[in-house]
């Protein structure tokens, strides 16, 4: 990065004005391009914020400029907490996301480690079987799964979601962690075992601590995916008190044909903030998890 910047600037110093114009034109192109991309990416969020702060008479006025807020109000947010179960949904979302993440991380860490380190018959097959699971979309399974969940008595219960979410978290977590564990040299464990550690101790005390960045990646990604999940929650849960944010907002803030836009936007905004905050703190880990070990580097 810095080297290419240097070559451009030295070229600029020794070059003619034509070169300089070209460079300015190129920079301008990039500035315009970045601005267009940013506006496209961020406008819906701006619109969310603006709408959530407008009093109703401003919201449903066709004469005023809709891009600005004249008299900002927090009424919509207050309504969410006083007149709906929003705080409950938030708690449910957090509980489900944390529990599903913990469950899936435990299973995926063990599975990923075993597949990365141990040789045993069927290991290769099991690795690919898990990978194929990663490629089966929830939309293919949700109908029979809904039947199953209700037959098991887990319908309308958060436990149902906590047990089912790991099915789409474990496969990519396992694959990411296989890669991560493989990058940690086995020599370290062998030394520990020569000094009398058991295999399990070598795994828990030597390799696991070294895998923390990989675990963070997996954890953040799993939490986000669980927090955002919609289809299973929609299919499994109809009790308003057991809803998570995505289904609570989309089902309970619409009465028949009437949309409470201010409340909807306030609810959407608050529901988006946790993942946005987590992401902004751990962006690098997040990007590493994107394609979950499928893409190297």
């Amino acid at each position: 990065m810095s080297s290419s910047a240097m070559t451009t600037s030295t070229m600029g110093d020794s070059s003619t004005t034509r070169y300089r114009y070209e460079r300015y034109a190129f920079r301008l192109m990039i500035a315009v391009g970045v601005s267009v991309v940013l506006i496209f990416a961020l406008f819906p969020f701006y619109w969310m914020v603006v709408t959530s702060l407008k009093p109703n008479q401003e919201l449903y006025s066709v004469t005023t400029n809709p891009l600005l807020v004249r008299k900002p109000t927090l009424d919509h947010f207050l309504y969410l907490f006083q007149r709906t179960l929003y705080s409950r949904w938030m708690l449910n979302s957090a509980l489900v996301a944390v529990a599903a993440t913990a469950l899936s991380m435990t299973a995926a860490t063990l599975a990923g480690y075993a597949l990365a380190r141990y040789r045993f018959p069927g290991a290769n097959f099991l690795g690919w079987a898990i990978f194929i699971t990663y490629l089966i979309p929830p939309t293919l399974l949700f109908l029979p799964l809904t039947q199953l969940v209700f037959q098991m008595g887990l319908g309308n219960k958060l436990l149902g979601l906590i047990l089912v979410y790991p099915t789409f978290l474990i496969p990519f977590s396992t694959w990411l962690l296989i890669g991560y564990f493989r990058s940690i040299p086995a020599d370290l464990e062998e030394c520990a075992m020569i000094d009398g550690a058991t295999r399990i101790q070598a795994f828990l005390r030597i390799t696991l601590p070294l895998a923390i960045p990989g675990l963070l990646s997996v954890g953040i990604f799993s939490f986000t995916l669980s927090w955002n999940e919609f289809l299973y929650a929609l299919a499994f849960i109809s009790d308003p008190a057991a809803k998570t944010i995505p289904i609570g907002v989309t089902s309970e803030l619409v009465r028949g044909d009437v949309f409470f836009w201010g409340e909807l936007m306030a609810g959407a905004l608050l529901g988006s903030i946790p993942v946005a905050v987590i992401y902004s703190f751990f962006a690098d880990y997040f990007v590493a998890g994107l394609t979950a070990g499928a893409v190297k580097g």
């Binding site: 990416a41 109908l143 199953l148 474990i170 394609t291």
Partner: protein, 311 residues
């Protein structure tokens, strides 16, 4: 008596010791630990993926309705679907939606990556902001789009009116609803392409570009002859993953149109939901979901083939 008791105790402890030793020995065997460590993941996946998958195939061969015992009807559901005009529309929608959205996500993602790969002020901010549409819960951002597409208060139509154009009813008539859905899908999906392409670009050795610059290759030629070939593996995997997710999409359509107006914007998943859960014909719904399977298996096969070749 006393001695025999002592002997018994000694024998028992000895036995316990050997037992304990054998257990410990077993835990030093790679195959024992291997299977043991895979057990939790395998249990969850077998119960909640493999079993429902098989159960789904069975359901699709029955006339199952919620709360009524199912009868086996063979391929009846599939036959019925093949002559159903709503289903035909759904198939066309799924391919249009996936095809058009994928092309634009790819192009926009590539543009994003190329832009973010340069140095400028606020680069970190730009990089974080661009990924936002992809990490925020899709249904929640879809609700914002629903409001932006509102038939009376659409902000797009307000802006269009400012330049003298009367905007369409975005989710209302003709081809506009599917178009509007595709726009949102591109908005949400392009960052996934962009960030992965960017990550891929940063692993390309700088020397290649320096050498090309010395040889006088233009930026365009550098892109075609260095960036694109070096990115190929990333591009393939991202494309295939994204095609799966787009083809099997549910959330956007559910929030924005529910498959309407008049069932004209369904994808497989939303139609399966409407038939299977909303109208309680779970067998027919399962059959609709399973229609995705052939297409998805082809994609999965290609992904695995690519990954294996790389290894």
């Amino acid at each position: 008596m006393r001695t025999s008791q002592a002997e018994q105790v000694a024998a028992a402890t000895a036995a316990a010791q050997t037992r304990r030793r054998t257990l410990r020995d077993y835990l030093e065997e790679e195959y024992v630990l291997g299977y043991l460590f895979l057990l939790p993941a395998a249990l969850l996946i077998l119960t909640f993926v493999a079993y429902p998958f098989a159960f789904g195939i069975w359901l699709s061969l029955t006339d199952a309705r919620i709360g009524v015992p199912p009868n086996f009807i063979g391929l009846g559901n599939f036959r019925e679907l093949l002559s159903d005009s709503i289903f035909h529309q759904t198939v066309r929608n799924a391919f249009t939606y996936t095809g058009v959205a994928t092309v634009f996500k790819f192009l926009l993602g590539m543009a994003m990556a190329l832009l973010l790969n340069r140095n400028f002020r606020f680069k970190r901010f730009a990089r974080a902001a661009v990924l936002l549409p992809w990490i925020v819960p899709t249904v929640l951002s879809a609700v914002a789009w629903l409001w932006m597409y509102d038939s009376t208060f659409s902000v797009f139509n307000w802006m269009l009116a400012k330049v003298g154009i009367q905007g369409p009813i975005w989710l209302g008539d003709g081809r506009w609803p599917l178009f509007s859905l595709i726009v949102v899908n591109i908005w949400r999906g392009a960052p996934f392409y962009g960030i992965n392409f960017l990550a891929g670009m940063q692993t390309i050795p700088k020397e290649l570009y320096e050498a090309a610059q010395i040889d006088g290759a233009s930026r365009v030629r550098q892109f075609w002859h260095i960036t694109l070939p070096m990115l190929q593996p990333v591009i393939l995997v991202v494309l295939l993953l994204s095609i799966i997710l787009t083809f099997a999409d549910f959330q956007l359509v559910w929030v924005l149109t529910r498959g309407g107006p008049a069932n004209s914007t369904h994808l497989f998943a939303t139609l399966a939901y409407q038939v299977g859960l909303a109208s309680a014909q779970i067998g027919a719904g399962a059959a609709i979901s399973l229609f995705m399977f052939p297409v998805l298996s082809i994609i999965v096969f290609v992904i695995i083939w690519v990954l294996r070749r790389e290894q």
